[in-house]
């Protein structure tokens, strides 16, 4: 072997040491990973433009000029009509009754304040647009879109020195974005936390890598170890996108009760359920997801009805820290998250295991 197997095109693009991308909603995790030689993308989909600007400054003050990324959820479709009151009125009584049964059965406390549903419908687009304008104004080093195509902003971003990444779940989405000139494609498989495509990580990464040419491909979905990293590089990826890996790390602001559950969990403790949002998403099992699987349960509603229906359970559980009720998006790789380690240690452990894997296979460079 003539080269460092962990020094990839992505490392050259970003000037980073290791091809590990942490996707996180926690600024402390992002900074710790960046300062350990990896890269981090902060998820800001729920934040206002002012909050995003403040977070960008906070990160810049702590990473000594190193690059970082911000992820938004750019919508790809939107209903052609919108009224939250109309939506609420259309939730069937049978579903309201089932929700109330769960709330009583598990003694679920009500939220301390109203659940925020302000991004609904067309406002979703307006929010995405306003968030995006902040990223362009701030010349964020990497702008990542966790859903919709970022192709329309490529020229504006490149003029400001920003790179643009897009996350895809299907080969045709990847081809469209690569042809448009995105700077990297994140190929996310079914193993991932949250709302995934239905193609497995092993297949989608190889499919996208086969058509990517010089565009770096970043593998996502179930990646939590150095062996996963080595495998992703063998599939043709230039790096890995990791989320669950950081949820239980020491710097993470995830509730300690959830951290404990993540550390104890295996892949079997995750479920692909549409009972929370109406969209299928991978989460830790909880009473809510399990009750909706029962034979006598109504069929979960489409979004946004189901999200409105589940919102009191989710928010109430979190507000009152009911560990027996809480849930969190979690990928199938969660079984390898077994300790609450510092982020720096996680980076080094993943790197060390990946190198050991390559060494076992083909020997390491001198």
């Amino acid at each position: 072997m003539s080269k460092d197997p962990l020094h990839t095109r992505l490392c050259d693009q970003l000037g980073i040491e290791y091809p590990i991308v942490a996707f996180t909603h926690c600024k402390d995790v992002a900074v710790a990973v960046i300062n350990s030689g990896g890269f981090a993308v902060l998820g800001e989909a729920m934040h206002t433009p002012d909050e995003i600007a403040a977070d960008i400054k906070w990160i810049r003050d702590r990473i000594d000029g190193k690059p970082f990324g911000i992820d938004l959820v750019l919508p790809a479709s939107a209903p052609a009509e919108a009224s939250l009151d109309d939506i609420k009125a259309k939730i069937p009584q049978s579903h309201r009754d089932y929700e109330q049964m769960i709330m009583k059965k598990y003694d679920v406390p009500m939220p301390k304040k109203g659940v925020d549903l302000h991004q609904w419908g067309g406002l979703n687009q307006a929010l995405g647009r306003a968030q995006l304008d902040v990223l362009l104004e701030e010349s964020v080093p990497v702008i990542a879109s966790g859903l919709g195509s970022p192709a329309f902003l490529l020229d504006a971003a490149h003029e400001r020195g920003s790179l643009v990444w897009g996350l895809v779940g299907r080969k045709r989405q990847a081809k469209r974005q690569i042809d448009a000139g995105v700077d990297a494609v994140i190929a996310q498989g079914f193993d991932a936390a949250g709302h995934t495509g239905d193609v497995g990580t092993l297949s989608i990464v190889a499919e996208v890598a086969a058509i990517a040419g010089d565009t770096p491909v970043i593998a996502a979905g179930g990646i939590t170890t150095g062996r996963h990293l080595a495998a992703a590089l063998c599939l043709g990826a230039s790096g890995v996108w990791t989320g669950t890996l950081w949820l239980a790390c020491r710097e993470s602001d995830v509730d300690m009760l959830i951290k404990e559950r993540l550390i104890a969990a295996t892949a079997d403790d995750t479920t692909w359920s549409d009972s929370i949002s109406g969209f299928t998403m991978r989460v830790l099992k909880c009473p809510w997801t399990e009750e909706w699987k029962k034979p006598d349960a109504p069929r979960p509603l489409e979004s946004p009805y189901q999200m409105i229906l589940s919102s009191d359970y989710i928010q109430g559980s979190n507000d009152h820290r009911r560990g027996d009720l809480m849930t969190e998006a979690s990928g199938q790789g969660v079984g390898f998250v077994t300790e609450m380690k510092p982020a720096r240690q996680i980076v080094f452990d993943v790197v060390e295991e990946a190198l050991a894997t390559f060494d076992d296979l083909v020997g390491l460079p001198d």
């Binding site: 549903l117 979703n124 495509g197 949002s277 969209f279």
Partner: protein
């Protein structure tokens, strides 16, 4: 849409009546999660551009495939998320 600033509506006759798929989705209301939604339908040709750089959205109706219980008759699709079922011929593109 009517209440949002920086919206510029238009009509593309080349796309009017074209069957297409949309790899859609968006932010799940009240959460930080993205969710995918797939549609098949007919493009009306109506579109709007929002802001600068222009973010283009096309209207799709006559939906023959949509998420179960999707309550609407039409959907706006972001232009790069639309895949024509019968791509435009060269003469149509010219």
């Amino acid at each position: 849409m009517e209440n949002r600033p920086n919206i510029r509506p238009g009509f593309d006759p080349m796309l009017a009546g074209k069957r297409a798929e949309c790899d859609g989705g968006g932010l799940v209301p009240g959460s930080r999660y993205a969710a995918r939604q797939e549609f098949t339908g007919t493009l009306t040709g109506e579109y709007y551009d929002e802001g600068e750089p222009a973010w283009r959205w096309y209207l799709m109706n006559e939906l023959t495939h949509k998420p179960a219980n999707f309550p609407y008759a039409a959907v706006w699709c972001e232009s790069e998320s639309i895949f024509l079922l019968n791509p435009l011929s060269r003469s149509e593109q010219a």
